[in-house]
Symmetry: C2
Subunit: 614 residues, 2 copies
């Protein structure tokens, strides 16, 4: 039997409450994204401004976080998003999840608003609210180091779990993120950093001595499954690619398939080799790293040691997504500049994808003469300058801090926003990798590649190869079922809380592996389809939040995705057919009508309590 | 008869009081620096922390500000300095002085501290304290533009007087400055921007319709003198040099004389042509400009339109002093980078000289292995990054924000601080231009070239040529008397408030011209020596402030200035002889003993009320 311990902090009252989530609720929603979304749907009042004190933040680990080995050390943050104005979830790796659990709590709920800047410090079951005025205005890196220092820890981020916001969160940038230890981990998407900012919460720090393994029911069986998973993962070639080059091993691959967007999805970048994982590994990476206890260790830390884009005295955690967003997407293929801009985003505390989307929209609007701004594609110095201005809402930065969606609407050019539900999309063109024509635009958190990751089939051929350009009736049917299945699975992964990399390995069957781990750990009795049903339940809870808010219920394809891709291997392809035909099949598979669950579906998933929302 | 109208704002109480300074006190101290220093000595409690609410700020125009034409539109700010911990004065051109007077007040005294960020708005005799929370954290340029916008002015800095601080002032950087309109004017030296920050005062804005000329007693005579001055100034070649190239016409000249310091006064820069006034005029200057009504119009506005150091969409007001401080002094001769760093300093709101001094000290300490910092001479990217960190007191920036003096002391390397009274010196090496061996180190505000400007003789030969390397007994005697005379004169110039450029023209006799203007304007009856006596009085009042604080009374030469200059035309020269022998003569001329006025001197100057300080 699993018990999930929650600390509820009310910053207005300056009080803490402890709560326990019982086994029966956990079996329905697990932790992380699932439990957070369920509680948010029950607790966060309808129609509330995300930056109002009555919004809440759920920092949740999952039942297996930091206990299982492979990919397990993640933490999900749930709340109402200032970017999408509906529910969002965003998760980070590193060690914040691990140390939060060791401090005695599996989850932290933050309510209300402090009068002055504060941080929450939890040491071995003893929580306190501490002044953070001296940290307000400071970058994420300085704040993290200062928290270690003033709490008596060595200058080593592995020694405690720390989550902080930077100037962007304090200044309520709609796409501000939350940085986690170690190093430069980010719950980036959805702007929950600015919800922290609105609550005057600079950070959360946790440390403790709770022994997580003591709570595992059948240790022998658990460790056997665990070790077997490690063996299977580390013996696979995808492990080697991620371990050696990190996520940016994708840059050359996706470009060669014609699926790498550039210039705000209006063109194709030339030779992207200078910003590819292989080249950056060779010229810039100085250190590799992993989340707590994870053998994949995909984290690449780069350094720009000289030149006009030097990043003095510090390393840069870089990934495929931010290299794309702040590189080809804004027409910049100069690796020094792209890394410098990534570093600026991390230190100022912004989601790199939405920052890139916003900059790309701004450049497009400027080139069209709609926005008065001295900027062009690849104009590195200006892009870096704008990052600073956005984080401080300084001058034109104040407009850009509203994000790509609002910028495009303001300047009456909606097609320059490429996303859904108010959030811009990441580094795959859904006209060249058509699974994303469904996966991006049905994602509950908006413009998202991590609620279902169709390149697993299209690029990695796992568990089988799917042609990314096939939008024949059978191709569409295949993708609709992949997306639904994958969304359900990943909802569970985000609630456990795991990362998604083990799912990339063909010798892994994630739903069955998760079932086995849960059963061994807590004496449960799940099978793979039970796991998928939990995921489906979670996905429906999030959609119910949209229904209740009366926002983003219908899924929509942005207009640019209906135009043919202009050049490259996917030239002439659009996302229209996949989306228009696929969405009908998808709704049928989900038991939804027009993006909305039916009463029967809710009943089937044990969600009848939310009938009133329909 | 002149009446000087003062507005006294108490930010703690949220109240204003109007006061009038009568003719007899004005005849002793004029306005600006003189009146400010006199009131500060009477009103600011001894030993007070400059960042305590009981420190006061005096924003004072002078009786002739904005009425006389040539050089007259300046405003002096006086207060206790967070950098020197004693009295300082700092003045700006532009139009703040003019608009403050037209709003109905010749001076503004700010006392106390607001609870939340505010700005003071004065519209035609009606002052108000207004919320400025929305401006806090914003750069000086954005804040200025926002104040125009929200008060219904067109986006044109000439239309109102605006003085603001940037992030550096808010974050109490010890050398934060105050930016004035139009454009990028700075009361930079002495860190009074952080005194504004400590009072939560983001800015002061003034506009009005008072007609200054109506208060002139003999308009005909006044205008005749005025017009004659304009004719004499504009017919002189120095006018043409300043008008065409601005102050940075000095770069090549001073370098060719061997008097341009580099690498924190440890070496000599190579070819400084790339950062010279002539070259920057040719390649970067896009606009020239003047202070209100001044025909000299020396302001050069540059633009860096492309490349890694592009300054997007904005112009940079650049001068000789900041080009040196952020160029050769930190080993950087790349003009794009030097201009970008100047712009950063202006927007973040820092004194460019002290920023350059501090960066130079930091580089020296880093090279010596005393300070752990990844930086070297000419490392543009890092220097720019540090400017941001200093302004936000972020990480290492928190240490550097304390300034060069405190940094050198902290790392037990006092010789890496090149200044006096806690403030670093500007762009002339007193070993190659030896007048500064006395002028810098006797300056009341510390490390200063504007209390007496000896290059007038040494470089311009006005009124006669003095050999800058001559420290023979007669040379020393000559410089001691020049410095004393010039300090007295410039104390009057800073109290009128004029700039010092007209004094560079050999057909001008500033003390007589000032006497004539005052007599015509207010029916006074001054001659040139009366004017100089006013200046001497003011200079002694400032010195009394040091005596009262028990700080910086004795003048001292920094140890590096006793070492020979390493290369160039002044190779082998040191400042020791000029200082050691000159200071004795100088004290004698002043009627001082060991840097301290005697009772007789005070009596002679009508300052007997301050006898108690001695």
């Amino acid at each position: 039997m699993m018990v999930f311990r929650i600390l509820r902090a009310n910053l207005s009252a300056g009080e803490f409450k402890e709560e326990v989530i019982r086994d029966d609720l956990l079996k329905l929603f697990l932790g992380g994204r699932g439990l957070g979304s369920y509680l948010a749907l029950r607790e966060v009042p309808r129609g509330v401004d995300p930056l109002d004190p009555s919004n809440k933040l759920y920092f949740f680990s999952g039942p297996l976080s930091g206990v299982a080995t492979v990919s397990s050390s993640r933490l999900t943050v749930v709340g109402k998003s200032p970017l999408t104005l509906s529910i969002t979830h965003s998760n980070m790796g590193g060690n914040s999840s691990y140390w939060l659990r060791r401090s005695g709590y599996d989850g932290l709920i933050v309510e209300g608003k402090a009068e002055e800047p504060v941080y929450i410090y939890i040491k071995d079951g003893e929580p306190s609210i501490r002044p953070a005025k001296h940290l307000w205005g400071k970058t994420t890196g300085s704040s993290t180091r200062q928290l270690l220092l003033e709490n008596g820890f060595p200058p080593d981020e592995t020694k405690a779990g720390i989550m902080v916001i930077g100037p962007a969160g304090e200044n309520l940038v709609r796409f501000a993120g939350i940085r986690g230890s170690d190093y430069e981990r980010f719950a980036g998407r959805g702007g929950l950093g600015s919800v922290m900012g609105s609550k005057m919460l600079k950070g959360v720090m946790a440390w403790g001595t709770r022994r997580l393994m003591d709570e595992v029911v059948d240790k022998g069986r658990f460790m056997k499954i665990n070790n077997e998973l490690v063996r299977r993962v580390t013996s696979h070639p995808t492990y080697q690619a991620l371990h050696s080059y990190g996520t940016n091993v994708l840059m050359n691959i996706i470009q060669s398939m014609g699926g790498l967007p550039a210039y705000n999805f209006t063109g194709r970048a030339g030779d992207v080799t200078p910003v590819s994982g292989e080249m950056i590994k060779d010229k810039y990476v100085v250190e590799t790293h992993g989340c707590y206890n994870c053998p994949i260790a995909c984290t690449q830390m780069a350094a720009v040691k000289a030149g006009p884009f030097k990043v003095p005295g510090d390393k840069i955690k870089y990934e495929y997504e931010n290299t794309w967003a702040l590189g080809p997407n804004v027409g910049d293929l100069e690796p020094d500049a792209v890394l410098k801009l990534q570093k600026a985003a991390n230190e100022l505390g912004m989601d790199t994808i939405s920052l890139g989307n916003t900059l790309a929209t701004a450049v497009e609007l400027a080139r069209k003469g709609k926005l008065k701004l001295d900027v062009d594609w690849g104009d590195s110095a200006t892009l870096i300058d704008l990052a600073y201005r956005i984080a401080h809402r300084d001058g034109i930065g104040d407009e850009l801090a509203e994000g790509d969606y609002r910028l495009a609407i303001k300047y009456k050019d909606p097609e320059s926003f490429i996303g859904s539900r108010g959030q811009g999309v990441p580094a795959y063109d859904p006209r060249g990798l058509k699974g994303f024509a469904l996966a991006y635009y049905t994602a509950n958190r908006g413009g998202d590649h991590l609620e279902a990751y169709t390149p697993t089939w299209e690029v990695f051929g796992v568990p089988e190869k799917v042609d990314p350009l096939d939008d024949s009736p059978s191709g569409v049917k295949k993708q609709a079922s992949i997306v639904k299945w994958n969304q359900d699975l990943f909802a569970v992964v985000d609630s456990s809380v795991f990362c998604k990399f083990e799912n990339l390995m063909p010798n892994i069957n994630t739903e069955n592996d998760l079932a086995s781990l849960y059963n061994a750990a807590f004496g449960w009795n799940l099978n793979g389809s039970d796991v998928l049903e939990i995921g489906e339940r979670i996905f429906n809870v999030e959609r119910l939040f949209h229904v209740r808010e009366g926002r983003w219920v219908r899924d929509e394809l942005p207009s640019r995705m209906r135009q043919p891709i202009p050049e490259g291997p996917a030239k002439g392809h659009s996302a229209s057919k996949m989306f228009d035909e696929g969405i009908r099949m998808y709704y049928e598979l989900r038991g939804w009508i027009d993006g909305k669950p039916t009463r029967d579906t809710l009943k089937r998933l044990g969600l009848a309590e939310f009938d009133y929302i329909l």
